[in-house]
Amino acid sequence: MSTPVAIAGGTATAAGDFLKRLLKGQTQALERAPDWFTRLRSAAVDRVGALKVPSMRDEEWRFTDIAPLTGRAFEPVQTAPTLSQADIARFNIEEATHRLVFVDGVFAPALSAGVDGPGLQVTTLAQALAVRTPGIEAHLGIHAGYQDQLFSALNTAFLRDGALVMVPPETAVAEPVHLLFIATRKDGAYHPRCLVSAAPGSAVTVVEDYVALTDEAYFTNAVTEIVVADNARVTHVRVQRESGAAFHIGRCAVSLGRAAAYRSVAVALGARISRLDHCVTQAGSGSECTLDALALIGARQIADTHSVIDHGQAHGTSRQLHKCIVGAAAQAVFNGKVLVRRGAQKTDSAQSSRNLLLSPKARVDTKPQLEIFADDVKCAHGATVGQLDADQVFYLQSRGLSEAAAKSLLTYAFGAEIIDRIPITTLKARLGEAVLANTAGTP
């Protein structure tokens, strides 16, 4: 069922080869899939053929050199190893009664829990499509457009399975839903997909979690769509703790209805190169969103976040605090676009980018991007880049802490402001420990 793909720009380039190799092993289309799904996949395959691999010559990628990704050969993963609960125990979130686990992109029912319960629906896309669950066609591939985004198109072209969370109307789910994506294979390429749909008046917390059981290089290309209907509330914790050699490209598209609320905490710790495009569209009036993020990187890691908050309706609010802790020869990139469309009056938006550089070779490129077409709005933004405060270090030393311990504590504290906003106690503690481990012994 695979459609042959012609690659734009010929096959002579390394980037062209990258796509060609990836597509060679394109997975079989889903059996028993509805026609619209098959059409979606084919359309995405067509777009992959038409789009170019981005480079630093593209405005959206000008700070992030993905040549180390596109210069490598990755193979699509067709089968996955069988893991035991013990193998993944350290990723466990006790509070989460619903858990979907994907190993190298393949659903692992034995590791998952709370699937297909009454009320809240936590299941796989493949299963839901097979039984023709309504409410998927209206959203899947609609919010995270693949027409002009190569990596989203690639993900959609490989679409076969994924995580599906559907919350019925007027239902508040107390326990978080854990979507766990585990990478195990060197040089594997996989394309995780999530769809979260919160019906009017509902509330849910979803943890989207990318982890590794290998130190090797592999390629995660993730797309998540989150639909928050009128008066619904979604809390989204996104954790990227891939292997230090991995490549992680992610797109998260969120659509907010009237008086809907979306709160997110995104934490990026892993990957050699990671990129997150986080796009929130306020499609209904009076909606609110909070985007908090922490990137904590060292060695030669690159962590790039591009966010877009699209205020399309009146009375919307947005709050964004983006923090980066950059050590060694790492590089952080933040581009925060806030778009206030004509008619989105009384928009109230505030964005803050705060960055801590731990070494002379560390680098951050941060850029607020405000585009405002309404005249009665409040939009604030600010960015700071700095080192640890010498007075704070001395204060701690004067109380007996070594210089290294003082710096480590201060670095931790800088990151803890974001970690503390995660509303799940065990995950907060786990990530706090990870941050502390990563900041200990900083120069």
Binding site: F394, L396, Q397, S398, L401, E403, L409, Y412
Partner: protein, 264 residues
């Protein structure tokens, strides 16, 4: 309390120091023995805060001459944290805010670090909580101080109480308290002063750096030193502070100008 045979804690001789190439301390000398309370007074810019920071090892200041020994050890050979562990405590004039670090976490970490270095028992969070709450009573501090970030959003008086709380926990041999009275209303001054008095023993000593004599109504010094232009120009007993209060610093500066070059 002055005792004839008390051991010397701090011996500073001919100390010269500068910041960014500007000389601040010029031939500063001072001896502090166990059990004593010293007040270091002087007008703004006389070098008293600089002296306090240099004792604690602030990196912005360069020692350009002279010596300081603490219990026989060369103080300037020690890093700031080593001085703290050895028993030198600096109460900051402007305590530093540390957002993101809970006061309880900070206090326990510093307490246990210093305890471990001194070969004493560290405390787990529950044991430490009992200890710190006991010490907080001394300073009439609300327990909710523990849950807040270190000094963040504290009033001036709250910050100073938090400094003395740290002093109570770290149990220093020599407490150097830099302008601890500034920013305190009369009630807070009384509480802080009684806390400092309660911590005094025949084994430790206090060096109060202060511009005004009002703190000395509550903490009675054994010695009062007056600094001017980077050195001590006059030393006396408690009555010297009262005289300064009545006559101002110009009087003593003028008097010492006539006797320039005489040892303090």
């Amino acid at each position: 309390m002055i005792r004839a045979n008390a051991e010397t804690l701090l011996e500073v001789r001919g100390l010269c120091a500068s910041v960014e190439g500007v000389a601040i301390l010029k031939d500063m000398s001072l001896t502090v023995k166990r059990g004593e309370v010293h007040a270091l007074m002087g007008p703004n810019g006389s070098g008293k805060s600089t002296f306090a920071k240099i004792l604690a090892g602030h990196p912005a200041y360069q020692v350009t001459g002279g010596s300081a020994t603490f219990e026989g050890v060369d103080l300037f050979a020690l890093k700031p944290e080593e001085r703290a562990r050895a028993g030198v405590f600096l109460g900051f004039q402007y305590p530093i805010e540390i957002p993101g670090v809970a006061n309880s976490q900070f206090l326990r970490l510093t307490y246990n670090t210093v305890q471990a270095q001194r070969g004493r028992e560290e405390l787990d969070p529950l044991e430490f909580d009992d200890l710190v709450r006991e010490k907080m009573k001394l300073l009439e501090m609300n327990p909710d101080f523990l849950d807040r970030s270190v000094n963040e959003g504290f009033s001036g008086g709250e910050k100073k109480r938090n400094e003395i709380l740290q002093m109570a926990l770290l149990d220093p041999r020599l407490a150097v308290l830099d302008e601890t009275d500034s920013g305190l209303d009369i009630d807070a001054l009384r509480i802080v002063a009684s806390g400092i008095n309660a911590l005094g023993t025949p084994d430790n000593a206090v060096l109060l750096v202060t511009h005004y004599q009002r703190l000395l109504n509550y903490i009675v010094p054994d010695y009062v030193h007056v600094m001017s232009a980077g050195r001590i120009i006059r030393t006396g007993g408690r009555e010297l502070a009262l005289e300064l209060e009545a006559r101002g610093y110009d009087w003593v500066s003028a008097a010492s100008g006539a006797a320039a070059g005489a040892p303090a």
